[in-house]
Symmetry: C2
Subunit: 403 residues, 2 copies
Amino acid sequence: MMSDDIPVIDPNAWREQFPITQKTVYMISNSLGAMPRSTRDNLNRYADIWEARGVRSWAEGWWVKQNDLAEHFSQILGVPASALSLHQNVTMASAVFASSLRFDSPRNKIVYTDMNFPTIMYLYDGIARQHGARVVRVESPDGIGVPTEKLLDAIDEETALVPISHVLFRSSFIQDAQTIVEKARRVGAIVVLDVYQSVGCIPLELHKWGVHAAVGGPLKFCCGGPGSCFLYVDPELCQELAPAYTGWMAHKQPFDFDTGPIDRREDGWRFLHGTPNVPGLFAAEEGVRICAEIGMEAVRKHSMKQTQLIWETAQELGLKSTAPENPEQRGGTIAIDAPHGYEVCQELLARDFIVDYRPKAGVRIAPHFYTLDEECVATVHQIRKILDSKAYEKHLGQEKRPG
Amino acid sequence: MMSDDIPVIDPNAWREQFPITQKTVYMISNSLGAMPRSTRDNLNRYADIWEARGVRSWAEGWWVKQNDLAEHFSQILGVPASALSLHQNVTMASAVFASSLRFDSPRNKIVYTDMNFPTIMYLYDGIARQHGARVVRVESPDGIGVPTEKLLDAIDEETALVPISHVLFRSSFIQDAQTIVEKARRVGAIVVLDVYQSVGCIPLELHKWGVHAAVGGPLKFCCGGPGSCFLYVDPELCQELAPAYTGWMAHKQPFDFDTGPIDRREDGWRFLHGTPNVPGLFAAEEGVRICAEIGMEAVRKHSMKQTQLIWETAQELGLKSTAPENPEQRGGTIAIDAPHGYEVCQELLARDFIVDYRPKAGVRIAPHFYTLDEECVATVHQIRKILDSKAYEKHLGQEKRPG
């Protein structure tokens, strides 16, 4: 789609449906997207069916409930819905996928960058130890991004797996997924792309890009909250893989309760395991549905306009950002690396400017389709005011809070 | 507690709080417990905080929300709450625990019985393949239970892991967990006890019994629905184990976003991984809280009276049960092995007698603290009527439904 053909989002058309936007300056959609009003109705639908239908709920929708969420996700990921499975979080989605791989010498390298979300590093370090695999960690020279060439050089014939982020959580730097996947395919390595920071904000064409597998979830820009992350596996690759961590949902005839060996499904359900997280699926559905309805081209256009506004306002006010300068290389977040960032963040929260803070990144600001331009400007000005007035000082020395 | 001191449950005191019991004969608490009315309020509390507080929800309760559910579970499991972690399902709870074990020859046997829930067999077959471990499957001679001696004989110095069910899902046979754990400890094997069919129905003293690890969930007798299963790990053993499948929630300082290696917590959180399933935790809480409040001694007393009533009524009406004859050896379920069991089950459901059907078990009937004696009798009579009138015939040849 050419830029001019992309619809312009009117944030005011969405704000009534996202109640927190009417009471706060909600600038943290890269961490926890605002809750759609209709999510409450969906949670009540979960209660309605359990309350009225009891165990019949399974036959009347629960058993296949993951397919509804998969359908919405498929539209914003550019993959067939049948290639998706839903899991509690990205860690476990990644773990299930990894349990289907081999790390036999000499192809036993796991190549990632030190800009990954830490949990992913903890996980693959554990997997490497378990399988005698080698971890190759490619380092960022500047804490913003990792030069693509440097990463490509590390991916070789001895590489089994490349688990990397599409958009880096600290800097919002967009990695060149397509080029990385091409190199991996050339040498026979498998890429697991973590799209947590891009899904719901940036157009994705995972199937077209040839991505082997991808993980992400509804928590952030998809406005679906915690509990239901997806694993995408390329349908062609899927058939060849047999996850060790499996269960009855992956069985072709689960209600035969056959004692084994497992007769595996051939679609994305091949990567399911035990009983699904039905309340989490109901909780996530509305946010993802709305994102798919709006369309990622429009969201990205709106996001790029507003992140640029944040960037420019920060420049004007003498605030440093750890995001890439080139808008094309930036995801949906601008982190402002203000002094006393954690304390500034606490003061912003107290003033109902909702943001978060990450070490080596700063105060993260992420507008979304329900964000007004003036909120972007006001948030940066508020940081300046808090710094100038030293209002952050009252938070110094306090115990750090989760979030 | 002596039997006479155990409070007698009045089911009528609970039925208003479990709406489905007022509209159906709800006899399937071993599969999906009835939803407490207050669960809906709790789901709305989840929506309230997300809607109003946004990302601040993490600091204001979400991050540690699993501890509330753990607290309720700890009371009915006989373990410290701090030794519990919550996971999507028993399969993944088991997988995370298994990822902390080694299966080095010669101690590389995984010993289980063919009466396990199939998903557990699929999982451990996969793990065995992954690690070159040997699966030793102890077979039931009668499809009801496995003689304890036979299982004990299979647990030897080459046994790494014994993943077994406390109460068997088909027959409701209670395995002698304490004796099995004693043998395992003597030879250095580790027991993972699946208490899914006993938790919420039978008094458990897992810590006192010396159980190494246990898995189970709120879905069944705990009336908590799907999404939030627990892993208990003996606090002494916990310190020695380093799960490969780990993540930031297992880190002592997760919000430092340290790039590794992971600095592991020393309590049950050591077995957590990625972002918690907050909606599932809210959904499960009320059922487990109510079970803990009633107390397992009272529930068991009520259950034994009613399962005996079902058993005797079945005998009277010439119906065969696959449950053990000795009430002390039976869990909370009586399965009636009627001819055309699946179709009989469908007709019972159509008549609002809510039960389920399992192959090699039959129509499963499980009363609970909200069940009236007359419902137990009526359900068995209904089976007799459906058989005698051949009303099941209309369901013959239909595609089998999940549930």
